[in-house]
Amino acid sequence: MTSMSEELTSYQRVMLALEGKQPDRVPVVLYPRYNALKYARHTFMEALDDPEKYVAAQLSAQRRFQYDSVHDYNMMGPVEEAMGRRAGFKLKYVRDDAPMVETSVKIKTSTDLEKLNAKVDPYMDGLCPKVLWVVKQLKLRTMEKGEPKVPVITWGSCPSRTAAVIMGYDQWFMLLIRNPELAVEFMELCVGPWLEMVVSEVDSGADVVWVNDPVSSADCISRAHYEKYTQPYEKKFIAAIKDRTGVPVIFHPCGNWHDRLDLVAQNGADALFPGTMDLSLVYEKTMGVANVKALNGGVGSARPNTVDLKGTTLAEDATTLLNGKPDEVEREAKRAIKIGTQRGAGFLLGGNCFPPLDVPLINIDAMVYSARKYGRYPISI
């Protein structure tokens, strides 16, 4: 019979897994922003207007579903907005999604970079203080008797993403060809503001930082461009976070990175959240390399050996949480736990991105149930 008893807190479980150790069972970290809001019956816009609603939704959903983390807003663009406002940068907020760029900033020369605010004060500028308030409240309300019970996971934007958001994705991609020196100068400028934000998030109570890059996959740029231009700034950003805060960093290479996993492994992150990629391939290419001690994800990842270096994950495989039945979620979770925990590695079960708003909540139950059923150490599946 499956034992459902829990010996450790979520905080202990997650932190041990991120150190590459094996806690009582595999933790579940699935970045449930929209789903928590859906459970609490709030739209993202409502929760953006009233951060108390966001905090309450995170806490109540975590208690209900018993996954192992809570998360701040993530990907709201507070630093990009603070950097670009005086140059005309504007975000458009929508009901249930991360904001999108309404007005970007033309970056043609180094002089254009001078229009941006490189000295963002996270405690004063734009929406940054709201994010910090959310982090602080999550931390305070997940403490029991002076001990953290659930880890607070916050987010930081890597320099290539920040630059692409500010000047527009199309223009960013073309800048990499037209004027790579300016692209490098722009990324250099973007390191500082987001670093200060992440340091402030950790000072406010965040226990873990995740950093994503949605603009450097093989869906977007070549391996050569990644290695030469954008990766050095990922490394620099992650190293600075670790140096200034000491908290573990999860890196999310968003999209298809199969042809550059050897490079990603060198980024300095403690864990990788490989999204839709083949978890077994990611494991073989990255586990134990440089600082990588754990993987996060699994449900909605590619079936092993179904993609080549050029290939993308089939939509049918990538949408399990959204379109699948609970037994399919369980089957993929079981497979992921088996792959992710082999040879004693750290593993945190999750999805392949933010789970979409319309994910049936029973599928989140199925994921947590699977971690308890199959993820108890020592693993025997």
């Binding site: 929508v94 999604d97 060809i177 740029i221 993308t312 049918e316 379109n323 708003l357």
Partner: protein
């Protein structure tokens, strides 16, 4: 230089995405009285090569965007000639990202390839309401309606558009293609679309096939 060489140079400069040299090549061809529609076709052939290189992971988004921008610059040079570039377009496509969704990178790639393949495209942009799709479909009378969305919340909106087309008696006259990361072919068929895909080039091939079938007696 022969006409073939002039046109070859145009195609090559699209593939090399060198806007200055492309403009030079286009001007050179016009100066030799090469018909503008043949110049446009040469650019389209260049874009086909770009598309193949993109599919083969030899080219990436920056290359694709640069080639599309170079072509746009050249089309500006061709100016009024372009309206007579082809006797008929390869097909007429109405396209947009559905209401509630403002992601458009994928849609824009499809538009680039559609235009370079000779399709006439009416791009409604992002966050397009159901009524707008129907209203434009009545006005434009497209062969194909393409709906795009990145978010799962977009999927029910696509269904609403299809239902609205049925109510207005338009559905049988227009092929419907769904695109976007969460969209599967199974979903497309279930909700009454003609096809669905999450890859730009496969979408183009589907639309070209539809137009081929339509043109057959």
């Amino acid at each position: 230089m022969s006409k073939e060489d002039l046109l070859q140079r145009v195609s090559e400069q699209i593939v090399a995405y060198d806007a200055d040299k492309l403009v030079e090549a286009v001007k050179g061809a016009l100066a030799q009285n090469v018909p503008s529609y043949e110049i446009v076709l040469a650019m389209s052939r260049g874009m086909q090569v770009v598309g193949q290189k993109f599919e083969d992971k030899e080219y990436f988004l920056p290359d694709l965007l640069m080639a599309a921008e170079a072509m746009k610059t050249a089309m500006d040079i061709l100016g009024p000639y372009v309206t007579t570039a082809r006797a008929t377009a390869a097909g007429k496509v109405l396209i947009g990202t559905v209401e509630g969704d403002i992601h458009d990178i994928g849609k824009n790639i499809v538009v680039i390839f559609l235009k370079s393949a000779g399709f006439e495209v009416r791009d409604l942009g992002t966050d397009v309401p159901v009524e707008k799709f129907v209203e434009e479909a009545k006005m434009v009378n497209p062969d194909i309606l393409g709906m795009s969305g990145l978010m799962s919340t977009s999927m029910p909106v696509m269904v609403e558009v299809i239902e609205a087309l049925k109510r207005e008696g338009l559905r049988d006259k227009i092929k419907v293609l769904l695109g976007g990361a969460p969209v599967t072919n199974e979903f497309g068929k279930r909700v009454g679309a003609d096809a669905a895909t999450n890859e730009a080039l496969s979408g183009i091939r589907i639309m070209e096939q539809w137009m081929k079938e339509k043109s057959q007696p």
